[in-house]
């Protein structure tokens, strides 16, 4: 029995998804919830459904429609039944009904920002937990930031594919909940969690708080699953799993702190073959039993997920560290330094291979921060949808919807004056009482600069574009327009500045722009059309300004070769022409000293207006954009 439990617990630790789900069940209010960024798929339903059915046993589970408005959250007077019954009938809002339960938000990327703000406020009160299902694609803005930063766990598609979900029994969960208040946390753990957050570049102070609460929940869980006096797992293994789970997705850089970190890095370089036999040892034995146990656990984790490299290396690291530190386990209560190294090592091992190194996280973090507001869908049907701006007098019709509440409100003061037609009717409504919804018709313009950052003129050109971006943003206070920058050099194009209207943000991200190298024009145009399509889908109007001399020399696969490069670029330009035809304004600014035929033919192919501006300056670009 105990062996079985032990295995179950280890499986839990090895799978971020299972860990997150079970911890959330133990401490739903303290941990806030899970932000799951994955599209609808069998893998997603594989865990969401069993999780929800278990959560339903423990408390209310309410699903929020992505089009829910503030009224449905807060509640209010139910007019239909109030009029019917002749007395006020107050309906509870969703936020009140979900008290201490779980709120499931599907398509969270489409959430109205003001609704998100309300939910965020309620989360601050620890009123309920939230399951945020975010279906945004990689380069789309996802769920509102103000929500996801209040949730402890961020789960990505990669976590869903790796493992199957281990769910606890509801008795275990309840038992752990009872234990929560009896768990004491050793000071060393505070330090480890605090320092690890800094090491991973996780600035938000909510993250370590979540990690701490998760740690408490995990210890409670360990206690319930294995009530024997001996602790079931080493502290560092638990902490490592939590660091990977909570800080991993938030990390902006691979961990780097003090000297034991550099030792850790050195160790990472060391050949792994020598430690391999030790790792396969099934049963812990010998004087450093604790370390062995941790290793075995890690090896287990590795085997479970079929991931070879990093976990093995990190285990090796641990061993090196241990031998260097000597018999640290004598110094219980835990000494801090080795604990941190081991926890960070364990965390690294648990993170998907190459995730930190590739900077993929930083990139998602960037995409995330651009998602400050969940933007709702296309606003082309303005008048019927969008953000509510209040009501106005008018007749409902195909272009305007009746606002029932406001209509009743307008009619009420006149009831005494209006003779009742029949006894049935509680309310007499006349034409002048009719009120209709007014929706915001925000016609937001996003200007995208596509900048050729290759060659010698790059630095100057980039500087001018930077100036133009900042000037444009400085003018945009009232118009609420946005600016984005795509730059291309070497072998690829890159979205340097996602659409933003914040000067602060633009300044920060444009501060260091690299320049020089080849001209991957085809990739740049491909990226431009992809992004424009995405943004248009979010209801933005786009204009793109390309600054280049049109002399492509890197093809779409990133290989040099002028002929193929030009051919690819022409092809991409033609694809862009479709966007130009469907309403996006394109401008080609030729930056060559004299008109270049390449640029002209490129502009023609993508149906852009052509400008010769060899000394493109910030003011000129701004004039072009506005």
């Amino acid at each position: 029995m105990s062996c079985l439990v032990q295995q179950k617990f280890e499986a839990l630790l090895a799978s971020p998804l299972s860990l997150a789900v079970n911890l959330l069940l133990v401490d739903p209010l303290g941990l806030g919830g899970i932000h799951c960024k994955a599209r609808v798929s069998p893998w997603r339903s594989n865990w969401v459904e069993p999780f929800l059915s278990l959560a339903a046993k423990l408390g209310p589970v309410i699903e929020l429609a992505s089009h829910a408005d503030e009224q449905s959250l807060i509640g209010g007077i139910d007019w239909a039944s109030s009029l019917h019954q002749g007395k006020a009938h107050v309906e509870q809002g969703i936020l009140a009904r979900v008290k201490s339960g779980l709120l499931k938000i599907g398509m969270a990327d489409r959430l109205n920002p003001s609704v998100a703000a309300l939910i965020g406020q309620a989360l601050d009160q620890r009123a309920f937990a939230c399951l945020l299902l975010d279906e945004a694609l990689e380069d789309e803005p996802g769920a509102p930031d103000l929500l996801s930063c209040r949730l402890a766990f961020w789960i990505g598609e990669i976590n869903l594919l790796q493992t199957k979900l281990e769910l606890l029994e509801d008795n275990d969960v309840l038992g752990a909940r009872n234990e929560l208040n009896n768990i004491s946390i050793e000071p060393a753990a505070f330090r480890v969690l605090g320092e690890a957050a800094l090491a991973f570049g996780v600035d938000d102070l909510r993250a370590p708080q979540f990690a701490l609460r998760a740690y408490r929940a995990l210890k409670a869980l360990a206690l319930v699953m294995h009530p024997a006096s001996k602790p079931m797992q080493d502290e560092e293994a638990l902490l490592g799993a939590l660091i990977a789970l909570v800080y991993g997705p938030r990390a902006r850089r691979p961990p780097k702190t003090s000297e034991e970190e550099s030792a850790l890095e050195d160790a990472l370089q060391s050949p792994q073959s020598s430690t391999e036999p030790d790792l396969e040892a099934a049963e812990p034995e010998g004087e450093s039993a604790k370390a062995e146990l941790a290793k075995a656990e890690l090896a287990q984790a590795k085997d479970d997920r079929g991931q070879e490299g990093p976990s093995r290396q990190a285990s090796a690291t641990k061993e090196n560290d241990l031998s260097a530190e000597g018999d640290w386990e004598e110094a219980l209560p835990l000494s801090f330094e080795p604990l941190l190294a081991m926890a960070v090592g364990a965390a690294q091992a648990l993170l998907p291979a190459g995730l930190l190194a590739s900077g993929a996280l930083a990139a998602t973090a960037m995409a995330r921060s651009s998602s400050s507001m969940g933007r709702s869908g296309s606003r082309s049907h303005a008048g019927l949808r969008g953000r509510s701006l209040g009501v106005r007098e008018g007749k409902p019709g195909p272009r305007s919807r009746l606002h029932v509440l406001a209509t009743i409100r307008a009619a009420v003061p006149w009831q005494r004056l209006r003779a009742p037609v029949s006894n049935e009717a509680l309310l007499q409504i006349e034409r002048s009482d009719l009120r209709v919804h007014r929706y915001e018709q925000r016609d937001q313009l996003t200007t995208v600069f596509v900048v050729d950052a290759s060659g010698s003129a790059a630095l100057h050109r980039l500087a001018e574009v930077k100036g133009a971006v900042e000037l444009l943003l400085a003018q945009c206070y009232v118009r609420r327009d946005q600016v984005a920058v795509i730059a291309f050099r070497l072998d690829q194009a890159q979205l340097l500045l996602p659409p933003t209207r914040s000067l602060t943000r633009a300044k920060r991200q444009l501060a260091a722009l690299p320049g020089g190298g080849g001209t991957p024009l085809a990739s740049a145009l491909a990226l431009t059309s992809k992004l424009i399509t995405n943004w248009r889908r979010q209801g933005q109007r786009i204009q793109a300004i390309v600054l280049s001399d049109g002399k492509a020399n890197i093809d779409i696969e990133g290989k040099p070769g002028r002929a193929k490069a030009m051919h690819d670029a022409q092809h991409q330009a033609k694809l862009l022409a479709k966007l130009a035809l469907s309403g996006s304004r394109l401008v080609w600014v030729d930056t060559a000293p004299r008109p270049s035929s390449e640029a002209q033919s490129m502009a023609q192919a993508m149906r852009a207006s052509y400008m010769l501006l060899p000394y493109a300056n910030a003011q000129g670009l701004v004039a072009l954009a506005s």
């Binding site: 003001s114 330090r191 102070l205 209040g390 409100r409 009420v412």
Partner: protein, 338 residues
């Protein structure tokens, strides 16, 4: 009763705490704007104010909790009622949700009364609730511009004037507007910025010890709120006493001519628009002197409050790199040298 994280237990963020205390002592300062990263304790600080501020006397069952000592001429309730009992209530700190409609903020026709009794009655909104207290708007930069305009208008005039749905009335609404937000998500128009009295930039502490302290205190609070609050009770009391004392001595704080001159010179040097900068500086420096139990304002107090009073009032050149705070610091240095 639900325990709120005590104000005295907040770690660091001294500028923010100072600004909130100044506003608590002198509500006429004109609102506080707190801009900064997520998870820096902005909301916690504002919400903890309610427990910190000394309770006040209010007219019983007046929807606007008027002060019995100093009846507002605008209060429709107190004007009508003859017998007034006074009760002790906590200073209101009202949270304004982003999605709030104009109806909820301003107040609207009370439909229930209208339907059942056929009376045209007014249902007070959030502005009425916040009278004599604080109105907190999180993510103020995401709030609809017309709502922010309206809030600032009411906050400045101290009265909420309602002309809608056949209602026509005014009621007192004197409150301190506290806005917070993250500038990366959109900025406030300069016109609006200028109308906040104080503006603070908060940053995430990056020093390990501070962060650990935050972590420990928060954890202790979560584990046992009652015990944690008891631990900080004496400090809370001391802060409360400070507020009461500073309020009482505020009127008697002197503002010498040379300090006035210094204030005017500083504003001229920085080229702030209008006179709000000067007025704000005078007021804030005086409050700070009262907090420090001085009978006379000195130049030091002006220097201490200058960043929060002026940083959002500088004319910004979009291509200027340096932060407003350093511009002010430089101006202060230059003036000290001269």
């Amino acid at each position: 009763m639900k325990h709120v994280y005590p104000f005295a237990a907040l770690v660091g963020q001294d500028d923010m705490k100072q600004a909130l205390l100044i506003a608590a002592i002198d509500p006429l300062i004109g609102g506080v704007l707190v801009f900064g990263d997520r998870g820096t304790g902005k909301s916690t600080a504002v919400r903890s104010l309610a427990a910190l501020l000394p309770p006040m006397q209010a007219v019983k069952s007046c929807p606007y909790q008027c002060d019995p000592q100093q009846l507002s001429s605008a209060c429709p309730y107190c004007k009508r009622s003859r017998k007034r009992q006074s009760i002790t209530v906590a200073v209101p700190v009202v949270d304004l949700p982003l999605g709030a409609t104009e109806d909820r903020v301003l107040g609207a026709l009370d439909l229930q009364k209208a339907l059942r009794e056929g009376v045209k009655a007014f249902e007070p909104g959030l502005l009425a609730k916040a009278h004599r207290g604080f109105l907190y708007v999180d993510e103020v930069n995401l709030l609809e511009d017309h709502l922010v305009d309206l809030l600032l208008d009411v906050a400045a005039s101290g009265e909420n004037l309602i002309e809608r749905e056949g209602l026509s009335l005014r009621h007192p609404a004197r409150f301190v507007l506290v806005g917070s937000g993250n500038p990366e998500e959109g900025e406030l128009r300069p016109q609006l910025l200028d109308r906040f009295g104080l503006s603070i930039d908060v940053k995430t502490p990056m020093d390990l010890e501070t962060r650990l302290e935050v972590l420990k205190r928060r954890d202790a609070f979560d584990q046992d709120p009652a015990a944690f609050c008891a631990l900080y009770e004496s400090q809370q009391q001391a802060l409360q006493a400070l507020i009461v004392k500073a309020r009482a001595s505020l009127a008697s704080v002197e503002l010498p001519d040379e300090v006035m001159r210094f204030i005017a010179q500083l504003c001229m040097k920085l080229g702030t628009d209008g006179l709000r900068g000067e007025l704000g500086l005078m007021r804030a420096a005086r409050v700070l002197s009262a907090m420090r139990e001085r009978s006379k304002t000195s130049i030091q107090e002006v220097i201490d409050v200058a960043p929060s009073v002026l940083s959002h009032r500088l004319r910004r050149d979009p291509l200027e790199e340096s932060a407003s705070a350093s511009v002010i610091a430089r101006a202060l240095r230059d003036m000290a040298a001269a």
